[in-house]
């Protein structure tokens, strides 16, 4: 497979997953606001600030907007194409990548993605959003699910498939760390509120942002306990959005691409993913809390980035050809 194609397939899948996660985060937090009464500007800002911080785009946000509120944050994360991680920018980028590799993906995938793109580019999109953000975000999520279904049912299990899976799970692992981190940044009105109604509502919102509400409750019946939630989203070996689950998939995918047996490694990416998987497989939530949840999640994000970079070096990066030098060499051979 061409290196360029592998890169495009990876980013296509990754951008779609990113768009889906952002919409869930926004949708849930818009809902959450409805649970509170009489919020003043400052409280609204305190609600949205952590989300901006968690996405890692805080600096850019404050270059574009003065104040974090429902309107500005949703605009920034949904429609503003100056933000490369807004929903619109993600879907446009996913579609552009799909266009680059049209010959590699099924026409069903391209058409579904193209439909979403045409919808978002139409004047209709903003109207739908104004009439109800939920319908709008649902639509994006449905398309993301459709994408995953189509990848699963129309793509041969070859290298291209693996690079798409790699993109999906890399993004998902990263976003789960960020969603979990949102709560770290959320301040409770008062120290006595810990475990109170607001606190619980925030934790529930967090679970919903990760599509984990039902799955969590199936295991921990009706008990919204921060340590358990962290344990579930980090260490669950069966929930498909937990960090451990995603890293296991990443590790499997990398080994399938190279053909190297799971217990060993043939490149740096495999070594790093194996190492991270080991830590996640044998780690405990007590250890995480001792270290500090935020610090721990920061560390995971950094390690995921290293896996991404070394995979890029192993498969997608091609040393740039010095055109002038190449021309000269070829002319000497004429």
């Amino acid at each position: 497979m061409l290196s360029r194609v592998a890169d495009s397939l990876y980013w296509m899948a990754r951008y779609i997953e990113r768009a889906e996660n952002i919409t869930r985060l926004l949708e849930v937090n818009l809902q959450l606001l409805l649970d509170f009464e009489h919020l003043d500007d400052n409280q609204v800002k305190e609600h949205w600030d952590p989300i901006i911080r968690a996405t890692g785009d805080e600096k850019q946000f404050y270059e574009l907007y003065e104040m974090a509120d429902s309107q500005t944050v949703t605009d920034f994360l949904t429609f503003n194409t100056k933000n490369p991680n807004s929903v619109l920018a993600c879907i446009f980028a996913a579609r552009e990548n799909a266009r680059q590799v049209r010959d590699q993906i099924s026409s069903e995938i391209f058409e579904s993605l193209n439909n979403l793109y045409l919808f978002l580019r139409s004047a209709n999109a903003k109207t739908v959003w104004q009439q109800g953000a939920w319908d709008f975000y649902d639509r994006i999520q449905e398309h993301s699910h459709l994408f995953q279904g189509l990848v699963s049912s129309t793509i041969s299990r070859d290298e291209g498939y693996e690079f798409m899976q790699f993109g999906t799970y890399m993004e998902r692992a990263d976003k789960t760390t960020r969603i979990l981190d949102v709560k770290y940044h959320m301040l409770l009105p008062d120290i006595t509120d810990v475990g109170g109604a607001v606190d619980v509502a925030q934790w529930i919102a967090l679970l919903k942002s990760a599509s984990a509400f039902e799955a969590y409750h199936r295991i921990y019946v009706a008990d919204v306990n921060p340590a358990k939630i962290a344990e579930f989203l980090i260490f669950s070996n069966s929930f498909p959005r937990s960090i451990r689950f995603c890293v296991k998939e990443i590790n499997d995918v990398l080994h399938r691409i190279s053909g190297c047996p799971l217990a060993s490694f043939s490149n740096e990416a495999e070594r790093l993913s194996g190492l991270l998987l080991g830590d996640l497989s044998y780690g405990s939530v007590e250890g995480v809390l001792n270290q500090g949840l935020h610090e721990y999640l920061d560390g995971i994000q950094a390690r995921l980035n290293e896996i991404g970079a070394s995979t890029y070096n192993a498969y997608m990066f091609q040393p740039p050809v010095d055109l002038a030098e190449e021309i000269q060499t070829q002319q000497q051979q004429q």
Binding site: R4, R102, D103, E159, Q330
Partner: protein
């Protein structure tokens, strides 16, 4: 839908004879359309447009920073060619491409046709697209033009004439296949009843041809389509063909030349490629030989061709056959190489570089069609009878300044075809026809081709960049 108000207005009409009677090969289509109410028709029309948009069968117009994607305007009424007429065209086109390939082989090797004085050498050797770099280089199977899109028109008597040969990178074949697809969905039952010959095997034939020109005969060739990239207006077609053939689509930056061989840069290292269907012009394909500023091409690919390690389709240097001055000499080539008279006629042409013709052109410019010898897409052209005095004067000066670069032709009253217009009725619009010819182990032509239609009333320019649209083209198994 009916054609009661339809007027042929003295033009040769594909569907209706001068007396207003439908031609026999259009009768079944006419019956079907007469049973169609306007609402159904409109619904089908919109459905087809929407399906093109959704499938991304678009070309990009860059008027703002994002670029707007447009679909090629598609007319629902197909153009129909009866079997015997098609057989005649097929014979004529095969004869013509055979002669053109013999001509290219000759001028890049012995140049007998020049030595025998059939064509003045300066016309060939001084042609803008004559590539000195490949003189004496053998190309596999001696084929230069593997894929040709010859433009045909019909005059006021319905006689087919060759308008130009496109022997470089003719585009549009994906529309032929996608338009057929759309028509099948819109009128599923009409096809078996009308007896339409299929076109779907094109990609298979294209691949077979590309494999046939494999330079490394000891192994199964790796084939690729070379595209300028996703921002090229024909990118959809490049992907479409690659996908249909199941071959790799590559850009210049995916390829690198080492030891006179061309390699693709893959996730598993370098992989050698043997045959490239290239959709990049000669000028841009190798910055170490041609335009050094090109970033689309592959430095060293000409070295690999010389070493016999890669075949390009079409070969380098075919542009000389597209030169409109060379067009003038094609009937002589046919006679010279094949000893035959041309089966297909072509438009009478005046060469501005010949004294007598030059005087005639300058005096009669407002009655003539003047064309630059190396332009395409409807550019660099003067339609004398429809042009302003200023435009005529401008072209007169251009011809005087550079006679070698201009030809002139008598204007042809192109045939017309009923076409759906914005006013909700059918009106006659001028059309042409571009059949796609493949030259491999044998010569194959998909039945039909691209019928382009000038959608603006009275316009003779069918190019999509200038308000043209397309129609599905049906070749029948029979004559009616």
């Amino acid at each position: 839908m009916d054609f009661k108000n339809y007027q042929t207005e003295g033009f040769f009409d594909e569907m209706f004879a001068a007396d207003g009677e439908a031609r026999p090969h259009y009768k079944k289509l006419l019956e079907r359309f007469e049973r169609l109410d306007p609402e159904d028709f409109d619904q089908k029309r919109q459905a087809v447009g929407l399906s093109f948009m959704r499938a991304g069968i678009t070309f990009t117009v860059y008027s703002d920073d994002q670029g707007t994607e447009r679909i090629m305007p598609f007319d629902l009424i197909p153009r129909i060619i009866p079997n015997s007429e098609w057989n005649f065209l097929e014979r004529g086109l095969k004869q013509r491409i055979t002669a053109l390939n013999l001509f290219l082989k000759d001028i890049y090797h012995e140049q007998k046709i020049l030595k025998d004085g059939v064509i003045p050498p300066s016309y060939v050797l001084g042609a803008k697209n004559f590539r000195r770099e490949i003189v004496g280089i053998h190309v596999p199977r001696d084929i230069y033009i593997h894929i040709c899109g010859t433009d045909l028109i019909r005059d006021d008597k319905g006689e087919y004439l060759v308008l130009e040969d496109n022997g470089r990178c003719p585009s549009g074949v994906s529309y032929v296949l996608e338009d057929r697809n759309a028509m099948r969905r819109a009128f599923p039952n009409l096809f078996p009843r009308a007896g339409v010959r299929p076109v779907e095997h094109y990609a298979e034939q294209l691949l077979k041809m590309l494999q046939y020109i494999n330079p490394n005969t000891e192994r199964t060739p790796v084939v690729g389509v070379l595209t300028p990239g996703a921002y090229n207006s024909a990118y959809f077609e490049h992907c479409f063909l690659a996908r249909q053939m199941g071959v790799e689509i590559v850009e210049g930056r995916d390829l690198v030349v080492r030891d006179f061989k061309v390699y693709m840069r893959t996730t598993k290292g370098l992989q050698q490629i043997d045959v490239i269907y290239r959709r990049i012009d000669d000028d841009f394909i190798d910055p170490s030989v041609f335009n050094p500023k090109s970033i689309l091409g592959v430095p060293g690919i000409v070295n690999a061709i010389r070493a016999g390690n890669i075949t390009l389709a079409n070969a380098l240097g075919t542009g000389v056959a597209d030169d409109k001055v060379m067009y003038y000499f094609v009937p002589r080539m046919i006679k010279y190489y094949l000893g035959e008279d041309p089966i297909l006629k072509q438009v009478d042409t005046y060469l501005a570089s010949e004294k007598e013709d030059f005087d005639f052109i300058i005096e009669n410019i407002e009655k003539l069609v003047v064309k630059a010898a190396n332009e395409a897409g409807g550019y660099g052209m003067l339609l004398g009878p429809w042009a302003t005095k200023e435009e005529c004067a401008k072209f007169r000066e251009m011809v005087k300044a550079d006679p070698r670069n201009f030809i002139a032709q008598n204007p042809i009253s192109l045939s017309r075809h009923p076409t759906y217009c914005d006013n909700g009725d059918f009106e006659g619009r001028h059309i042409d026809l571009r059949p796609y010819i493949l030259y491999g182990e044998d010569i194959t032509i998909i039945p039909g081709g691209l019928t382009r239609v000038a959608l603006r009333k009275g316009s003779l320019v069918v190019n999509s960049s200038q308000g043209g649209g397309v129609k599905d083209t049906w070749v029948l198994y029979n004559d009616e």
